[in-house]
Structure formats: structure tokens, C-alpha cells
Subunit: 273 residues, 2 copies
Amino acid sequence: MYHATTLLENNMKATHSEESHPLIAVKVASNVIEMNSHSIKVACSNCNLRELCMPLGLSPTELERIDDVVANRRKIKRGATLFRNGEKFTSLYAIRTGFFKTCVASEDGRDQVTGFQMAGEIVGLDGIVNEHHTCDAVALEDAEVCVMPFDRIEELSREVNALQRHVHKIMSREIVRENGVMLLLGSMRAEERLAAFLLNLVQRLHARGFSQSELILRMTREEIGSYLGLKLETVSRTFSKFVDDGIVEVKQRHVRILNTDALKDIVNPKVCN
Amino acid sequence: MYHATTLLENNMKATHSEESHPLIAVKVASNVIEMNSHSIKVACSNCNLRELCMPLGLSPTELERIDDVVANRRKIKRGATLFRNGEKFTSLYAIRTGFFKTCVASEDGRDQVTGFQMAGEIVGLDGIVNEHHTCDAVALEDAEVCVMPFDRIEELSREVNALQRHVHKIMSREIVRENGVMLLLGSMRAEERLAAFLLNLVQRLHARGFSQSELILRMTREEIGSYLGLKLETVSRTFSKFVDDGIVEVKQRHVRILNTDALKDIVNPKVCN
DNA sequence: CGGGACGTTGACGGTCGTCAAAATTAGTGG
DNA sequence: CCACTAATTTTGACGACCGTCAACGTCCCG
């Protein structure tokens, strides 16, 4: 069992620390094997994230084999892009630390945040179909990713059935997630959208050992609004309403959920007979 | 070169015909090999849809190998479901004829159309991640699909690289498509949404040999509205506005696009300097 | 031919976008 | 470390867009 409160403190204080791995609190040895000052080799088999990331469901022997899939790691400064719309697709990226947004743009300049990704999640799937990326992936805080060249993934997933299955599941999961966002964008009102958003975020953070009730937003109100199909003012107002109703405490980007059930009721109004 | 007008007539008149293959006009022998009255064997290598469907990019010899992927065909009556939310996932389905919608539902009953699928497109990808489907696939007209058991797909895609690549691309394409829908739902107004919807439909139909300017809607105003995040009245009103503006002719579900550029301008307003 | 599903149109109201201003915070450079 | 500027957030007033409700018209199918 993790000590969620302590971990949240970690989350809050160590945000931009390069040394710590704030998002996952599992006590194992570092998975980094220093080769020399320039090339860094990473081993999935030791990674803190192995239960959440690519290798899920692999046996220890299979796990060792896919260490080869990860070519290297890459650090992304806050505000920098991991990849950009139009760039050649070569690799998928597993997030080790940090927080990303992905966003697409229409030709006339409007853009839409299509997702927020945290440690253990995979980005870059959009690039497979046309060999070019169709969205931007931007780090919302200093981040580090494992670079996984896609041809190596394909090669190895021909031999390791569990990896093949896992790759398929990752892509299917993304499709299902986007289905959920479409439901949100297509049929929910502002309060429902924000409540669903908060519940989703806190649930994913909880799966990584953090608190069920506290979180730090890594994105601006405008980015939340873009994701939810709302304007930033509406996001701000809706936060204020939740505060008035005693459902959450909000101090800038620090959110404490006081009444999870109330949030769930907002998303899924109970029908009374 | 196809005779688009003739084909559109076909499309219109032969909608519910069991014998013809109205959506694709390529003159090849039927791809159906009758085994006996109960079991029907289908060969991708002869299929009209092979340039649009699963086998895209495969060599002739590879094509023959993947004939085994298709277990059988299945006919779906208009209004019937191919699969339903919660059902066990076993197969992907390639649409041979007919037109489908997929929709997800929230717990409190609201539902959202997540897509419309036509001949040559693949449905069922949502089921991979949890071994159960998370949406309904409903036939909007009498339809026929090729049933492709997913374990066979996985098996064969370990051996046929081009098939592996193609499966990945199909899933990636669906992710990219949904990104586009999120942009639409999150940042476009009613007119823009409907214009984008019409352009998308007609473009896909054109790729199948139909007219660039005429189409028959297989879905109700309510289903269009659900897909676009609008109410059916708004869809109807927006159609009427397009008619008033001379952009389209609408007679019930028969739509003729009079000014494609105007539609494109609505989706992507030109900036004047 | 009749009933039901589907589509159209109008009137009105609510939700959320727009514009604006002020408050608070974060980031930068001296 | 502090001052200054930019970025972000909050709040208010107002209006537009679209949803709701209702009535009527049309088409399809049995």
C-alpha cells in the first residue's frame, strides 16, 4: 500500500526535479544503465512503470527481450514538443516522467487538445497511418520519454505474442478513450464535462499511487477548455461553482476533491422514480 | 473510370437489393465461393473491395494467404446490430455492403453516435482492449460483413508483414479520424459541423466510385445530430439554411451539393488580408 | 389507406461565448 | 533578491447560438 498523502506531497514539491521520479512510488532500483555520458540505455525489465506501460502482461523472459525495443531516452523541457504535426513518424514514445498534451489544429488556426498523457502512457499512435504525425505532443512539465522505434516494435511483436497483443490493446484503448471524449463533447454540459475530467484525472493519478482526492493541474484553464470544448472563462466559472457548492477546493492549479460522489452525480445524474 | 452518375443511380435504386454490390463498381467476378447451402466461403483475393479494405498493400501471394482470415460472411438486416456494448469480442468485421453506425451510451441513457461506416471499412476495433465491445454497431440498411476472427488476424499478421502493418494502420487511422471528430465537436459551430460532415461523406463515397456531388443519407437527422453534437432540429435548420444559400439541394435524404467550395469555406473560413 | 416514424418550422429560453477589466501569479532580467 | 512584465485566472455584463417545446407536414410500410 502506498501512502497517498506523502506521494501527493512528492507530486507537488518535486514537480520539476530532474532527479526524482515523482509520478511512481515503487521502491526498485533505477532502471537506467549508464553506458557513457552520451548514450543512455534503459531496461524495461526494471522500470517502475512496467505494470502501466508497454510491457504489461509479459513474462519476465519476454520482458528482457523487449528491452531492446527501447532505443534510448529523451528529455523534453516544459513547453517543448516531442513531435509536431507533419513530422516524419518513426517511433512511439512511452512517458517516463512528466505530463504531455496532444493537440490537433484545423487549417484556419483553431486547435483542439485531444488528450493529456502522464507517466506510463504511450504517445505517437497517430503517426502510424500516414508515416507522419498529425498532431503536436507538447510537454506541460519537464519530461522524459522512452523512444521506441516502431519498426522494432513490429519486428519483435511478430515473435513475442504478448507484445503483439499489448500493442493492439494500447491502440484499441486509445480508440475507446476517444469514444468517451466524443460522448463528453457531444452530449454533456459544462459542469458534466469538468466533473468527468476531474474524475478521470484523479483516477489515473490514483492508479499511479497518488491521492484519490488531491491533484495538481499541469495545464492551464485554456488547455482544459480546449480539451472539453469550452472557453477558459467557462472552465473558470465552473470551477468557482463547484467551490461554491462545496464539492472541491481550488487554489490555482491545486485541486482538492471534497465530495467525489457529488462529482459522479453531476456526470451521471441519478434518475429518481 | 467509373460513370459516377450511373453509379449514383445504382446507389439509390439498389439500396436494399441482396444481389447487387452497389457500393463498388469494379467489374470482377463475384468473390463468393459457394461451399454448400449453409457455409459460404469468401476470398479476399477476388473481392471488389480489396483496394479499400483489409488487404490493401499486399502482394497477390500474400493476398491468397489472408483469404483464410475471413471465417465467413454475415448478413445484417436494417436496424439489427452487428455487435452490442458488453458482448464478448471475437472478431473484426469488414463491411462488404451496407452502412453502419457505431454508438456509445452513458450510464444515464444518453447516447452518442461515434461514427458511420461504409463498404470496405472495418468495425469492432473497440473490443480488443477489454475483450468486450464498448459500443453498438447498428446496420442502417441491409448489410453484409466479412467476419475476421481476431486471433486469426494476429496469427497471420505475425507471418505476413504487410498484414501486420495494415492492421496497425487501420487502428491508427481510426485514432486520427476520432481526433478530427474531437476538433469538430470541440471547436466548430453548427454550420461548420454539418458542412464538414457532408464533405467527409461525399469524399468517402467518391473513393468508392460515386458522385462527388450527390449522396443519399442513410441515417436520420437525429443520428446526424448525435454524431455532430447537435439536436435534430438544429441539423434540419442548418440544412434549410444551406438550401436558402444555394449551397445544396435537399429532398429528404437525397442531397445534391451545388457548391462544394462554399462548403469548404464554411468549414475553413478564409482569412482576408 | 391509415398509423407511425421522420422531417420542418416557429417561438422562446438557457447555456455558454464574447468582451472587458481587475487580481493574482509566474517568469525574467537587473 | 527584488522589480517589472507577461501570463494566467477570476468575475461581470451582455448577447448569440443552439436546445426545448410544440405544431404541422411528409413519407414509408404494413
